[in-house]
Symmetry: D2
């Protein structure tokens, strides 16, 4: 297992083609906009070496029996699923940011399950290929980006109906040694500082979309792969200084990028689906379940930081004991823990799949993610409420440190006696970073938009069983227990009961 | 273990003094207003005999090793806690009502833990007394009402400060054979059809309130005990007929009653606290944790029935496929399952107490209950939205069956072809029963009002630890992992990173 | 203008066929279940004679110049519309109930406008007939029920597609003297104590539904009219006593009834639409606008009573100064006043129609009603939160007055010193009456269900204009003001501005 | 009246000391970060010259009878108040931004009223001074910043209790010619591009805080005045290019600044309060009422742009007709119009003060603002929901225009056929600008934080009157109307009514 620092160094050895703000990035390790994302991902490596967190951060490989970083593990029990989300809350607390590595983790687990099912049904050997690839990942402790979401073009049309056939990633050629793929994946977390990219289809597919049923892995610096790093709110403050970044060490959300596959070659041993369109839906749903499981972990870890920051600022401003402040902080904790309950519950209620790997409960995982599309907006509002208007009007670090004007900022932004003005500013900037900006959009759309979760909840909620319960209680279906309890049919029972009354 | 029917018969042998609507009730088994509550409680007995539910509904006594009804069990593991809430959801689904028996169940478990702690600290022998009493309950498969909430008078005053000292239950005399108690407990669920009443104090107490630190058990028909059954919305419809009751077989909420203790004698072997005021707070909090754990179980079981009823009525009225109807049903399921996640999470995260018995996670149990003070209002609104205005304007059963006017009701309340008008009316009445009335008030105040949960969440949320997380990320406290990842101090790191840029 | 008492007496002279609980009702004035509704409606008569309220409660007839009760007035200005909603809030405050008379009021105004438009287009003389009928109503100060909602059967089908053609009211025969109509109207407010019924179609209609395009007025006791009074929660408590009714003098919602038209004859002078299907939509929408305007008036008046009751109970229980109680009461007032803003705004923004009568702003009227489908659920929850669990467990009036048990209830339900126990019970019962039960369903479905308001808001919101605003600001459409301000085209402006920077 | 362009030019003639990002700003007209704010304010000048908007944008001076820009007008009627908010919605629609000029406008009106009351009570001549100053403002069509909020230090302490006495603006010296003031005002909107600053105290004051009771006006470039421009999310994108700004022409919120008064001299004719501490509270409350009135105007105008942008993006992405999209857009419109109702209602319900100027209804103005602290968070969430994840991951303008990588961005960010990729990006960036960032914080804290509005609602809601209503209905106070209606006392009435039943 690599340490955090070894991970950072390992990135220097890669040569990906990454673009940001119109420039090709030489090194993500040296670039002030990219480095915080590198640090956040490095935390997934570093904490694995702290004996306090060993149980959460590491696991035994079911393939080799060796100790591995949990982010490369295939879940062997519900307990593994629970440890996953506890690890995620911990990492959220330690970084106040997205540490990105869960996407590839979830991709590996989803492929592990789906390739097994594909092979059983189709006689293919994807599962073995995947296991070999997994061994490679585990042995080298690699960080993999999981790339599912296509750019989609017109969302009312299916892949093959698009004006441009490349708006979903697809196979353009099959050859003896491998396949050639073309297209682009959008919003891919952690891409710039991953070693590998694992590609999966983005939706259930029909036979006309056979060529779009493709899953594979490539190194980040494979020929023909281009990464365009997306803008995040305020990210260029990282080029200016420290304080105004809010969370200058670890960034914000996951450094999402657009990945272009411009006729990229993939050797067969790295291809995990190629034409089996009838399994695209299962793969998407399995991945989505794993990924939705997470959000009550990582986002709640980040919320812990936000709650703490808000409590600090209340103290710095002299209102920590006002009843409405305590009430709002309590509300924030309540909502965060409610989301946490979701992640715990879907994990504890996980089940074993045919492949032997464990899956979270899909209904509850979707419920968890849907909570996360709502509560963070409310807890962010409460944080902003307590922080006050200065959150959006605070002078810049450069003004604060300005030889002439700085003394005014120092004097007039002072809160309670005893707390340095700089602490107040730093705390405000941290609240700004955590409550304004990409975090909320990420809560909404990461792991699928709310409508996607609603569709799954509707499908998995078993409304027919509930309808039957209601009919039984309303007296339209036989209620065997009632008959045993009363020793009578319903009609006899009511007749007697009411007769006695008169 | 008694069957449902045996339980019903067992009630005939008791002689409690119960009043309702100005009359003394001769037999709760024969009285149309009381009988539905009896039936709901009977379900806790009956399902224990169904092999399908044996695992949930029964347990092995840790005292005797014998199979017992789970409602008399002391939790021996987190798994027991999980089974408890799964049993509760099942019972909610089968009755669409409160089955009442959890309160005494929780009282036994809370006393088991607190008496142990009291004995350790004070050298008393309450724990042994409690175990003997528990054996009696397990052996006879008794239903116990748990009576905690005092009538409280002026809520701004402590017990001994009240104008009338009896506004909290207290010891008025200690004698050789036992104690004499006076006072009243309010809103006590299931009282009228319980065998036993277990009394506990209602709040943390100081030394001046020593006499109020009293816990004990008495049979429901003990001398000096008077039960005044509270009114519930529409309860007298049970005297008229069947359909308009909505849930005519099982009632609604728990048949809450005011219990008066008019100088009741309690022998010492049934006294479990007497003057140890410093343990009143622990007992209250322990009981509250157990009881708040439940609400994402039982209320969600009832919500399942409501969701099913709403889906049925949508179908009966021809709107089952309207997108807004599907969306609202999905919202209902989402909110219900979110509450369910709370009950599961606090149970799975339960822990072993000094007594050996297991407790749910108190923070998450309080979060669960606080969810239940809100979401049921929203899902009830959605049910009423789909059901339509007829929910509040439907003619009575007597009009529907009227020789002259009945044919009009039949003709004009017809929904889609093929569904009998009576089915539509029954389903509307069920939705009315589940969404209007005492259910919501019970969701709000059962197991403590929302403010009580907020206080516990604030206390248990560890805001100091969160403040430290924020300070570490904002650069005010040392971040050891960051130093390891970067191999530098924070200041060196930023200096170098930004220098390179220029 | 009649006084309240004269109105009550006037009802004795009518002979309607009203059924309730399987019995034909002899006199609504003498019947304890009906009388509170009579009293609430009587308040609309009585307050018109109080000089303090003359300006709100009365108007000058634009037909005769005589002073009339405002409930029979055709709005002649936006100021009339504002007075209407102020009158409604006043009446809500004085009755804590639905006073029912607005429906016929709105029907008269909607017909006034639509008959004018019909006559202009079709050359009919409905407007003159309506004016004559209006004179009759004004002169006799009559109360009219407005009957719009059909029973609808399968909501997925249009009127003529229903299995039973009578599921929407329709003309079965046209004769020289008049027409014969058949069908039923559901949820009709105030029917039992109205003098007249005004019938309108319930939806936009196509040519196949021509026979369903019918509007007319009949006396409540016309041959062939049957009224089946709908059940409301707890309405039979009115047969038992006083206190448990909560609002024993004025009832709750509007005494909604199912009205059956079993081949009823209507003379031509009382027919206001007969076959002009293309005006059904306009009539429905006009009526709906008038009716949705009201809900921020009457419901907010009732909310004022609920807020007051909640503040009283907080005081009686000793928690009036707790910060969370003050915060909740403030929230209640906030939500109520927000709804009030809706009624005021749509009224002030009213406009003159071709007929000369004034209409509220339809977009804002729909917004008002949609607010009312949500906020009352929240303010009811807050009222119940403060009131406490006793709200759903309080013993009956008969127990409170019981010779033996009454003393216990008196003693143990005592709140703060100095407030009689009976006051506390009465206040709890009032909160129960206002927050549990039919009020909420009425808020949801009265004047149309939420989905109906959403459709209107979508239609009236002019999304195309908003799209254009966005395109102009985003630089896709010409921004003339920007060009004037800068003296340049957008491209020149940006080029220069950014050039200077470098 | 100046045109927009004349206003812009007028700013070139001023020499304020403004700092931003560690640099002194030479010209706000030429600086890309400041210029958008200038343009937004210029719109308040420019639209006054468009005949279509003359009625809203201009008024007749009550002092001179001349036509003036409405932003310099003293409201002479409720109609003026209504025109004010209609003007504000219009300007929000045309700029998608804060146009800043309302704060000085509200300051003038509040001072007009309060100086009149001060003079009446104290025999001072502040009102005359203010009128002269007003004439100067009207004649020169000046833009005034209104500066109320002090920096406050420890919020638990009053001004004179602070460790540093300068944490609230105060008089440090009174001289013959005028006064010397010291302190700082925070979050002051529009400062950098105003001609004048009008200072007011920030809270009610007691005698110990006499020196803090000071109000005055100074030119923006007065000696000793320093302006530190606050950071806003993404403001430095304006230095880079156009598209990524989202709203490149008009900015975002109001360019809030910290204004330092470092011993600034103010001549007496520009002093409007000096020591009259007992009027500080009235001035604050009056200003707050005017300012809270606005938020359902300007913010709803901006919401119109956001709704339009969201509808456009739905179309560009092929989902414009999905039911959940239409539902969400409808929700956005509903919430926006509900806020609009608030601004309309408090304006129409305005009243005449002793000074002759008109005030909005304070209760409803506070309700309006409190709505704005909540609904914009929800409508922003819905906008982000529809816009999709690209909102937070879209590549930069520089990448889009990059010679090598640009073609990929063009190809892969294409939505539906026929819409240029650039349009999609521009629309996403507009949504980003309007829904992420300072807008929400401004909605929360502008014109006072939510808690301030709650305090006012609680004070103005007249809970005592509501309590009396409840007691009257519950039968504890005499109900005169009921007695008239029934001709009996309540007790007689109930006795007779219930007797008849039996």
């Amino acid at each position: 297992m690599m340490t955090g620092r070894e991970y950072v160094e390992s990135l220097r050895r890669l040569r990906p083609k990454i673009y940001f703000m119109g420039e090709e990035v030489e090194s993500v390790v040296e670039h002030p906009v990219f480095r915080p994302h590198v640090n956040a991902a490095a935390m997934t490596y570093e904490l694995a070496h702290d004996p306090r967190y060993e149980d959460l951060m590491t696991a035994r490989s079911h393939l080799t029996g060796e100790k591995i970083n949990r982010f490369t593990h295939i879940h062997q029990s519900a307990d593994d699923l629970v440890k996953k989300v506890k690890m995620m809350r911990l990492l959220g607390q330690r970084t106040g940011a997205c540490f990105q590595r869960c996407v590839g983790f979830d991709a590996l687990n989803a492929l592990y399950i789906t390739t097994y099912d594909m092979d059983m049904k189709c006689g293919t050997d994807y599962h073995e290929r995947l296991k070999k690839y997994l061994l490679y990942v585990q042995k080298n402790d690699l960080m993999c980006a999981g790339a599912m979401t296509d750019v989609k073009g017109d969302r009312g049309l299916r892949p093959h109906q698009q004006a441009d056939p490349d708006l979903y990633v697809h196979v353009v050629k099959k050859a003896e040694a491998g396949i050639i793929v073309r297209g682009a994946k959008a919003h891919i977390t952690g891409t710039a500082n991953s070693h590998e990219i694992i590609v999966m289809p983005t939706r259930a597919l029909g036979p006309e979309d056979k060529d779009y049923a493709v899953s594979f892995a490539v190194p980040i610096d494979a020929e023909g792969v281009y990464v365009v790093f997306g803008r995040q709110p305020n990210e260029v403050r990282r080029l200016e200084g420290v304080i105004d970044c809010g969370n200058p060490k670890y960034g914000a959300v996951g450094g999402e990028a657009l990945i272009i596959f411009d006729d990229v070659f993939v050797p067969w041993e790295r291809v995990f689906m190629c034409g089996e369109y009838e399994f695209a839906g299962e793969l998407v749903e399995t991945f989505a379940t794993f990924h939705r499981q997470n959000y009550g972990g990582c986002k709640v870890g980040v919320a812990d930081v936000l709650i703490g920051a808000t409590a600090n600022i209340a103290e710095y401003q002299g209102v920590a004991n006002a009843p409405h402040v305590v009430d709002k902080l309590t509300e924030m904790m309540f909502m965060a823990e409610a989301c946490w309950c979701g992640s715990l519950a879907c994990s504890y209620e996980g089940y074993k799949t045919s492949s032997g790997a464990y899956m979270p409960n899909p209904l509850l995982a979707n419920v968890t993610k849907l909570l996360i599309t709502r509560f963070p907006y409310e807890w962010s509002r409460l944080a902003q409420d307590i922080a006050g208007g200065l959150l959006a009007t605070c002078p810049s670090e450069k003004d604060y440190k300005h030889p002439k004007i700085g003394k005014y900022v120092e004097k007039y932004l002072k809160g309670v006696a005893g707390v340095p003005t700089e602490h107040r500013i730093r705390m405000l900037r941290l609240i700004e970073a955590l409550s304004i900006g990409a975090h909320l959009v990420e809560s909404l759309h990461g792991a699928g938009s709310p409508q996607a979760q609603k569709i799954m909840i509707w499908r998995r909620g078993d409304v027919e069983a509930k309808k039957k319960l209601a009919r039984t209680i309303a007296g339209m279906e036989r209620d065997e227990y009632f008959e045993r309890i009363t020793g009578k049919s319903e009609s006899e029972y009511f007749e007697e009961l009411l007769k006695r009354r008169k």
